[in-house]
């Protein structure tokens, strides 16, 4: 490690490369943290966990006992055992007794992506609430048509501040925090919507996974969904072969009218990183003019609503887009994890090793920033898989009941997991330096061979 530092100073390796090396090394050393402990005041299963996107410091957790709590994960509230164990207590706790508290289990809690002044919670009492963090008051309340399973906000949005809410109802609703009203009702799913994810490359693209097993892509600027992922349409490898994709152009567009840069080559995309949507609109126009006969009669959004392609057998329980927005990971109640190429809408056929997933609850997956690893809650453990090979990298065991959510903090290379056993566990890199210090510090944990 010190050699690398010297190399970096000498300019032999790029700083970014050095940083990524250090990061990946730390990620590889992840294990249950002994010295960092989150004292959970929740009396029910932890359903959702998120660290704020601005400071990477405040952990927001929502639980089945209708309580939400925020923890400071950088500064411990107290130390125990001669500073060996740092305890992080909730900075604020909102529970049923709270004036504006939810009545039933909280299924999702997310930070407002711009700052930590707001957070949004969705609950089984059909409400999506927007909270002011500083006053701990609900400042907005959206009535949803059913139990809210998930909420999502786009982290890259600059032109809108919409909260997407998926509920037991078939429609996905977009709630506008600015106006306090629903701006969109996205219909297309045939069952409740378990998971929602905004594209991390395009602020107008929302992805939704439903209990009907379909994953639908929505462009919020136009009606209907423009893409339904189909598990039978697959490609081998990370990229669709150019020639093949060119050949497939026409049939693909027929089934999935309104498609983003599926046909755009990689070089094109690099040239126009932010203009994916523009490309797509142009291309769609062109396609509509040149192509389809039967689908054309219908409104493009309506045609896709007739598409019954599924991406999982059973419900889609979790969605996670990679940081570059090019791939989407989905987990289903068929205990499979699939990696989708967003560009082509194809299943990449990465065979993730055998796993057993919870089927009845939305799962929260996590992906490292460099899209190398995906963390999947598998019953009482969390498994890390290599995204491209599907091999198990590590299994994190520590929870005693099913894990519902995990969150990977790329900034600190820490992982947080919430489970049905009411615990939030911190998984952090096993630091050698700390270990040595500990060994000096305490004599208690030593070999003791009396005979």
């Amino acid at each position: 490690m010190w050699g690398e530092v010297r190399d970096r100073e000498a300019g032999k390796i790029f700083p970014s490369f050095f940083a990524s090396r250090v990061r990946s090394r730390r990620v590889a050393a992840l294990q249950l943290s002994n010295c960092k402990e989150i004292v959970s005041p929740h009396r029910g299963a932890i359903n959702t966990i998120q660290v704020d996107l601005t400071e990477r410091r405040y952990l927001l957790a929502g639980a089945s006992d209708a309580s939400v709590a925020i923890y400071d994960i950088q500064h411990a509230s107290e130390h125990e055992q001669n500073g060996l164990i740092a305890k992080h207590r909730g900075l604020l706790v909102v529970d049923k007794q709270h004036e504006y508290g939810h009545k039933f289990a909280i299924s999702s809690a997310i930070w407002y992506p711009v700052d930590t002044g707001l957070f949004i919670t969705g609950s089984f009492d059909h409400d999506v609430k927007v909270w002011d963090t500083n006053t701990v008051q609900a400042i907005m309340d959206f009535k949803m048509p059913g139990k809210v399973y998930s909420t999502a906000m786009s982290s890259i949005a600059t032109t809108h501040m919409l909260v997407a809410g998926g509920s037991a109802d078939v429609q996905v609703r977009l709630c506008d925090i600015a106006s306090g009203a629903f701006t969109h009702t996205l219909s297309g799913h045939r069952d409740g919507v378990m998971s929602l994810e905004w594209s991390s490359s395009n602020e107008f693209v929302l992805m939704s996974g439903g209990c009907d097993g379909a994953i639908r892509f929505w462009d919020i600027r136009r009606a209907g969904c423009f893409l339904v992922l189909d598990q039978s349409r697959s490609q081998l490898g990370r990229r669709p072969p150019i020639s093949e994709s060119a050949l497939k152009k026409v049939p693909v567009t027929r089934t999935t009218a309104g498609k983003i840069s599926a046909r755009a080559t990689t070089s094109q995309k690099r040239l126009h990183p932010g203009s994916g949507s523009k490309n797509s609109t142009i291309q769609t126009k062109g396609l509509n003019l040149t192509g389809g006969s039967t689908a054309q009669r219908l409104h493009p959004g309506m045609s896709s609503s007739l598409n019954r392609a599924t991406s999982h057998y059973g419900a889609v329980t979790g969605l996670k887009a990679t940081a570059d927005g090019m791939y989407l990971l989905s987990s289903g109640s068929d205990s499979r994890l699939r990696l989708w190429d967003v560009e082509s809408g194809c299943n990449t056929l990465v065979n993730f090793e055998a796993m057993r997933l919870q089927t009845s609850k939305p799962l929260q997956l996590a992906v490292t920033q460099d899209s190398a690893l995906v963390f999947v809650p598998c019953m009482a453990s969390v498994k890390a898989y290599h995204v491209w090979s599907g091999l198990t990298f590590q299994t994190f065991r520590g929870h005693y009941e099913s894990v519902n959510c995990c969150y990977f903090n790329w900034h600190d290379q820490e992982m947080y997991t919430g489970s049905n056993d009411r615990k939030i566990l911190v998984w952090s890199p096993n630091l050698l330096a700390v270990n040595e210090m500990e060994a000096d510090d305490k004599t208690a944990d030593q070999d003791n061979w009396s005979d």
């Binding site: 249950l32 943290s33 002994n34 402990e37 055992q81 060996l84 164990i85 009482a380 065991r397 520590g398 929870h399 005693y400 056993d421 009411r422 615990k423 566990l425 500990e438 305490k442 208690a444 944990d445 030593q446 070999d447 003791n448 061979w449 009396s450 005979d451």
Partner: protein, 674 residues
């Protein structure tokens, strides 16, 4: 990745611990074999790879579907867990799995049979978990999580031994602290007051001294009447001399009289004060000073010295006072004494009455009465007691054995052994001739009296031992049912041998000492020979002698003959079998010796092989309790009944298939043990 490869490599190379662990956990004992345990520890200590191999092996053992194996594994784990840090770090990673296998908290993974050991396993694990958590919980989050989960989520009851012990300790410490504080307070108090206390005591002591002095001066020379007597020779007895000396001494003492009463009162007062108040207080102060934990040692030593001096002084004064006849008891006593004396006088008058009355009654005693008394009492005679002494113990024993046992009655001993006639015309009064004519001739003869006095007893049934049926039972063991003649389940009760086989096969020829069969025989004969044969005793009337039962006799004889032959046959067989067994045994012994002698290790591991042979080799035939036998369910009466009830519905074959399936499953799990 690296580490897993490494362990995989080493597992191939050195794997002594797994083997040892497997051996140690494959036992039916409730404790680990100490020898094996020591070996495991030694092996694990030698090498880090051994420890990782041990963790794997232990987890494998934990997965075995047998609670006994798991229990022993948990014991091994505890031994290593408390010792090796590396073991802890590796073991703790899969801690939730370990807990689910040992506590069985997951509903879909209950603990395997046998259930009693499973309960043991659970409680032991919980106890150990608590211990581990208290000693290493700080360093291992997984331990804390497991402990917390079992305690707070699943609400398991932990023995909480450590906590309660620490609480007791805490309480004790607090108590000590409090007493220390109190002592310190007292000490501070003493520091301030020591001079006043001292002066108090000193003044009292002075007062007493003065009083004594005054009293002595007043008395001057006490009564001198006890000059040396000339009758000294008379007091030859030692005790008398003693008394006299005492009285002389007594005379020397200052005696209280009306003149010095005031002084004595004052003296007594201050003496009482000294003894009842100052002495205890001084003693208490001393103990305080001894116990107190203070920095001011100089003052303490000084004070301690002073108080000890004071105590000695008080004791000295006390002695002087007691010498002078002043004691606290005396001070309290005198008034009561006078009273007692008064009463005593009254009492002295009282005894007159009973004495006179008794003498009167004695006068009125009549001759026969005294005579009778004489009759009754002889055993208490001097002579008899002497004779009793003379009679040796053995004779007495003999007599006791002969002597009849009689229930007690008032008249029993009155006439015991007397052969006298008794006057007939008695009216129950003993006064002679007072109530009319007494005919001295009218007597009841002794024989008659004896007849009257014939001792009658109620018949008491002797407790008869009813022997158990002892027929062999299906579930093993013998029938313990006690019936007189016929057991409702096994028919007529016949004498049986240890295995429950009847000793005598034929019920007709009950020639053995069995009572019931004899009776049966009797009845049979009675039926046959009711008129013709006049049989007095059954044994004399042998059936063979009767001509009428000739046919039957022949039949019986034939039967007997067949039986005899068979018996001889079986005898021969059993003898043969015994011989064969002996031969086999001998062969085995020789083979074993040969094996031990021929192998190269045998010299070095002679004792090991011996032990091992007990474990594995030839001991198999000795039917040691095995793990499999523990799993086997004991068939209770209830099971049998239910099976009988169910058998009407379920066909035999299916149940057989089912049990066979279980059996084979078990064989798979424990390939070396069925």
């Amino acid at each position: 990745m690296m580490s897993t490869e490494l362990t995989a490599v080493t597992r191939g190379a050195a794997a002594t611990t797994p083997r040892l662990i497997e051996k140690a956990t494959n036992s039916t004992a409730s404790e680990l074999d100490t020898r094996l345990l020591k070996a495991i520890k030694l092996a694990a200590r030698s090498n880090d790879d051994e420890i990782s191999a041990a963790v794997d092996a232990l987890m494998d053992q934990m997965k075995k579907p047998h609670s006994q194996v798991r229990y022993l594994t948990v014991l091994v784990i505890d031994e290593l867990f408390m010792r090796s840090k590396l073991f802890r770090t590796i073991f703790v990673v899969n801690f939730d799995q370990f807990l689910s296998l040992s506590v069985g908290f997951r509903k879909n993974l209950p603990l395997p049979p046998p259930s009693t050991i499973a309960a043991n396993l659970r409680s032991k694990t919980i106890e150990l978990l608590e211990k581990w958590n208290s000693s290493f919980g700080v360093h291992y989050k997984q331990l804390r999580l497991g402990f917390d989960y079992l305690k707070n989520t699943l609400r398991y009851n932990f023995p909480n031994r450590i906590e309660s012990a620490s609480r007791l300790q805490q309480e004790k410490r607090e108590r000590e602290l409090r007493t220390k504080q109190i002592l310190l307070d007292k000490f501070e108090n003493l520091k301030e007051n020591i001079s006043s206390i001292k002066s108090d005591i000193q003044s009292t002591v002075d007062e007493i001294g003065q009083c004594l002095e005054i009293a002595n001066v007043r008395e001057g020379n006490p009564l001198d009447f006890n000059v040396e007597d000339n009758e000294f020779e008379e007091l030859n007895s030692l005790s008398l001399r003693q008394i006299r000396l005492e009285s002389l001494k007594e005379g020397e003492k200052v005696h209280e009289n009306s003149e010095n009463k005031a002084i004595f009162d004052a003296l007594r007062e201050s003496y009482r004060l000294l003894i009842s108040k100052h002495l205890p207080s001084v003693q208490e102060w001393i103990s305080v000073l001894v116990r107190v934990d203070t920095t001011d040692n100089k003052f303490r030593d000084m004070a301690l010295k002073e108080f000890i001096d004071l105590r000695n002084l008080i004791l000295l004064v006390n002695k002087r006072c007691t010498d002078c006849g002043i004691s606290l008891d005396v001070i309290v006593a005198p008034e009561e004494d006078g009273d007692l004396w008064e009463e005593g006088k009254v009492e002295a008058y009282m005894p007159d009455d009973p004495i006179s009355s008794t003498s009167k009654s004695e006068d009125s005693f009549t001759e026969p009465a005294s005579q009778r008394r004489h009759d009754v009492v002889p055993p208490f005679d001097n002579k008899s007691s002497v004779s009793k002494l003379l009679i040796s113990e053995s004779v007495r024993e003999k007599l006791l054995a002969v002597a009849p046992v009689l229930t007690w009655s008032p008249f029993l001993l009155d006439k015991w052994g007397s052969r006298n006639d008794v006057l007939a015309n008695q009216r129950g009064l003993e006064i002679e001739g007072h109530w009319g004519r007494v005919d001295p001739d009218a007597v009841i003869p002794a024989e008659k009296i004896a007849e009257f006095n014939v001792h009658c007893t109620l018949y008491k049934e002797q407790p008869v031992e009813i022997r158990p049926c002892l027929a062999p039972l299906k579930k093993g063991g013998l029938c313990q049912r006690r019936d007189l003649k016929v057991c409702p389940f096994h028919g007529t009760i016949v004498p049986r041998n240890v295995d429950g086989n009847p000793i005598e096969q034929s019920p007709l020829f009950g020639v053995s000492n069995g009572q019931p069969s004899e009776e049966v025989e009797e009845k049979e004969q009675e039926k046959e020979l009711s008129t013709e044969v006049n049989h007095i005793e059954p044994k004399q009337a042998e059936p063979r002698e009767s001509p009428h039962s000739c046919k039957k006799l022949v039949e019986d004889l034939a039967k007997q003959a067949v039986l005899n032959v068979r018996q001889r046959d079986t005898d021969v067989k059993s003898v043969k079998r015994a011989k064969l067994a002996q031969v086999r045994k001998h062969n085995e012994a020789i083979l074993r010796e040969a094996a031990i002698a021929s192998t190269s290790y045998s010299e070095a591991f002679a004792d090991c092989t011996k032990a091992a042979s007990l474990d594995i080799g030839f001991g198999v035939k000795a039917k040691k309790p095995t793990l499999a036998s523990m799993l086997k369910k004991k068939v209770t009466a209830r099971d049998r009944i239910s099976r009988r009830l169910l058998s009407t519905k379920a066909d035999d074959a299916s149940s057989r298939r089912f049990t066979f399936g279980e059996d084979s499953k078990y064989r798979e799990a424990f390939p070396n043990q069925w």
